[in-house]
Symmetry: C2
Subunit: 412 residues, 2 copies
């Protein structure tokens, strides 16, 4: 019977993480003595502020209880303080602490949509959106945005062509992972009007809110919750405070029936790590984050990388306005094949690079097959070495496999 | 539109936690200056071993990265070591670290069953089983066990009467939360034979494995994985090591296709708290746990409580063989009403008691309406004060509301 043990159909169709599925190749390369530059995963490489560790190192209570499932009272107050400083005072009962943004997204989607319903999102998207909707039996519907158009949002009329009677919500990330786009005020209004007109929820994943470049600022959709309460804003300490390993996030919404279900979901998960909540509270309390210099640092990296890549007219991109991601369009036919081949076969002086194939950042068939996502999470010098390996690998690849003719000769 | 914001049907039917839903009454009583004895929640009241805090206090790396999504390498090794000492060597690729037992249960159920499928469990059950199956669109089907029969399992033939074409798994807790029953070898074989005969998965929640009394031992279903690989064993540090606030659990299974889906689910959750994993590794490594005295301590508490309650012939129970739970059958018609009334209206010298109504520990309509669950997680002296409040409250309640005639005059 061993081979025929029955598994669920949904487990068979569950999407592999394009970000993580190639890690075994990287580990094999490391085991063989090579160095790997990990540009696959969006993990900031700067230090977590010392403030995070202080309450944890100071925790001397010999007991480690469950916390209130809504969140540790200190963390709830700290989150309120943070958003107050941004100009958005929040009521405590509009907040739920979650295990990372992951649970915030899962809780929101569960509360909004039934199995079989549709969730809209803009392509390319953060690939776990596909995983989370799959877990809940939802269909993720991609509304294309394109590199050629600098990832600008389509018109309201075009968005409407993706509606079905089962459409329940539109899920956005702003600034966008993976495109680095900051939506304009006009675009945000368009999304809100679209949602309002069709009674859709908006889930706004705002993990990169503060990581913006060149003086540009992102607008949080908290600004629109008063005119349209069907907006859920999601935050996390992972990126802003370089605290990915803490797994602390939160969601914010003002609609009581929605929050009542969220609180019940929180109760059935019992609660979130006590110590990480204490550390996260210290992060949210930072008035003048020691990380205020980070946007400029990531902007400088972006510029170095783009300056390097601009020498190769068959590599296309849009200069990101925010985040540490960079989407590249390459003269390749199959980014899964290319990224796997790259980590497996290409090294320069024993150094290799791992990047994310972009096919699974789209649901529209055929899209993303010539694209990859980079996370620029190394210091400038190793980052440029990684770019060198990437370009060298690409050149080798083009001699071995028929290249895709670059159709757009000019950088945005 | 505010009032008509559309939510999902599944959010409307989501079960409230019977363990936590009455906490606001307790908080209100505390705010009014009263003391509350919390017997609603299974949170051990002894100290977390100092070993947990050592690696966390010693963590000086200024960076807090994502860990490998399968689990921190140190924790995986520590879990292997723990089960090796129990006599069950595990391969690393048969293990997944999870956020508490919660994610272990959700991952397992997702991988085994599609939305609309049936999951069997024995009544009464841990109420979050109902929440987790609801999250995944599954129907939890209760196979009754009764206090009159000391919660013995029904025959294979009786179990078979609960099968449908949609039955995919049987979910057990052994020792049982809430009954304190340790399943006999014969009962475990019956479950395995039943599952084998009907190609069902078995999910064995073994959080109370070591908390057994009077020299009795529980058998882990790891003992049967070789003869029947469709067995998932779930463990956690919460109860054994009094580390509920760490939110660290794991699941164990040997069937490669099952584990492949589990690993993908783990990847899309990114990972579990780094610091808590380091602490949990120290706990699993404890060769001679400082908690070895705990079963005797909980056994003594159980005996004191039962000795106290035995004076009231209208209170029924079965002496638990394990865990710190105690199910009581009371002369009441509606345990939700009674437990709410008790915390709201009854105090002795400013002290109140919060307990869990048992109706939601059953899915069979009408069952559990005269039952409550206690978690004996106080020192003996306050525990007896809490019992005094409970009995006093019951006596008052019986004068105010028509009592249910006790049908079974003899204690087990």
């Amino acid at each position: 019977m061993d081979d025929s043990l029955p598994l669920s159909l949904r487990s068979q169709g569950y999407p592999a993480s394009p970000i993580r599925k190639l890690i075994p190749y990287a580990k094999a390369a490391e085991a063989a003595g090579h160095k790997v530059f990990y540009l696959n995963i969006g993990e900031p490489n700067h230090d977590t502020p010392a403030a995070f560790f202080q309450p944890i190192h100071a925790y001397q209570t010999p007991h480690l209880p469950y916390e209130p499932s809504q969140g540790h009272p200190e963390l709830l107050i700290a989150i309120q303080g943070y958003f107050q400083r941004l100009g958005y005072p929040l009521e405590k009962h509009h907040l739920q602490v979650t295990q990372g943004a992951t649970d915030a997204l899962l809780f929101s989607l569960f509360t909004i949509a039934n199995s079989g319903d549709d969730i809209l999102t803009f392509e390319p998207f953060y690939p776990n959106y596909l995983a989370f909707t799959a877990q809940l039996g939802l269909t993720l519907v991609g509304i294309p945005t394109t590199m050629e158009n600098a990832y600008a949002l389509p018109s309201l009329e075009e968005m409407e062509t993706y509606l079905t009677p089962k459409t329940k919500a539109i899920l956005i990330s702003n600034p966008s992972n993976p495109t680095g786009r900051i939506y304009t005020e006009e675009e945000l209004k368009r999304i809100v009007n679209f949602a309002k007109k069709h009674q859709l929820w908006i889930i706004s994943d705002e993990l990169y809110h503060t990581l913006t470049f060149a003086g540009k600022k992102a607008t949080t959709l908290l600004a629109y919750q008063k005119v349209y309460p069907a907006i859920v804003v999601i935050d996390s300490v992972s990126k802003r405070y370089a605290a990915c390993g803490a797994r602390i996030g939160c969601l914010i919404n003002t609609h009581t029936p929605f929050m009542e279900c969220i609180f019940q979901l929180g109760q059935s998960r019992l609660g979130v790590s006590l110590l990480d909540q204490l550390g996260a509270a210290a992060l949210y309390r930072l008035e003048n984050p020691s990380l205020a210099h980070l946007p400029a640092l990531y902007e400088a990296r972006r510029d170095k990388v783009i300056n390097f890549l601009s020498a190769y007219p068959w590599i296309h991109y849009v200069k990101p306005e925010a985040t540490f991601y960079l989407m590249l369009s390459l003269p390749i036919h199959d980014s899964n094949h290319f990224c796997t081949w790259l980590i497996e076969h290409i090294h320069l002086d024993g150094e290799r690079v791992l990047i994310t194939p972009a096919e699974n950042l789209y649901v529209t068939p055929g899209k993303g097959k010539n694209e990859v996502r980079l996370a620029l999470v190394l210091e400038e010098e190793p980052l440029l070495r990684a770019m060198n390996i990437l370009v060298y690998g690409l050149q080798q690849y083009m001699t071995l496999f028929e290249p895709l003719n670059p159709s757009r000769p000019v950088h945005e």
